[in-house]
Amino acid sequence: MPIEVDGKVLETDEEGYLANINDWVPGVAEVMSKEDDLELTDEHWDIINFLREYYEEYQIAPAVRVLTKAVGKKLGKDKGNSKYLYGLFPYGPGKQACRYAGLPKPTGCV
């Protein structure tokens, strides 16, 4: 179902991921999170921005296990665990945060 962000209509796939990664603007995360009744905090944005940087560098969305380890290294051990990440993204940090970040579904997400 397409979503409307800043007056533009953006295509998504059947699972709600952006069809075109280049369409992403921060408003995408705002609109998607509102639909999930989730209020984005700085802590959410840390993860979303981290995922976008990861994709920029490696051209893939990391599996949640890889994300957890990498977050722990970059943002501190207290954040590099699944309890913290699921607290932020109850639908799964891989899937939900990647969707907000405009990335495809994580590679290695089983």
Binding site: E57, Y58, Q59, I60, P62, A63, K69, A70, T107, V110
Partner: protein
Amino acid sequence: MATKKFMYVNRRAPYGTIYAWEALEVVLIGAAFEQDVSMAFVDDGVFQLMKGQDTAGIDMKNFSPTYSALGDYEVTKIYVEKESLEERGLTLDDLQHLVWEDEDEDWAEKDSIRLVSRAELAEVFAGQDVMFNF
């Protein structure tokens, strides 16, 4: 479940067919199952690891940066066949520098690529439980 040794053998050039990208995706997905994973690059497969790939002219995604993520997925044994490189006029310096970080040693960076001869690689193959050819 006992850990098995999985070897993914890459023999084809990176673009023109989907094999190289599919192999990489299978490796990344398979890495979630915590097996003992190795990759080998032989024949034209060595081109997959080349530095400085640019796919702008062929309208395919340049997935070569993804090889650098293999370390994050705990794929740390990447065998490159020496003869295949030489036959193509290449050396290790033409390939990306792939590393993994050892969490137990304060994230020390270690080389993932192991340059091996054809004979050495045959021995490595002989020691595997499961082989995938791409």
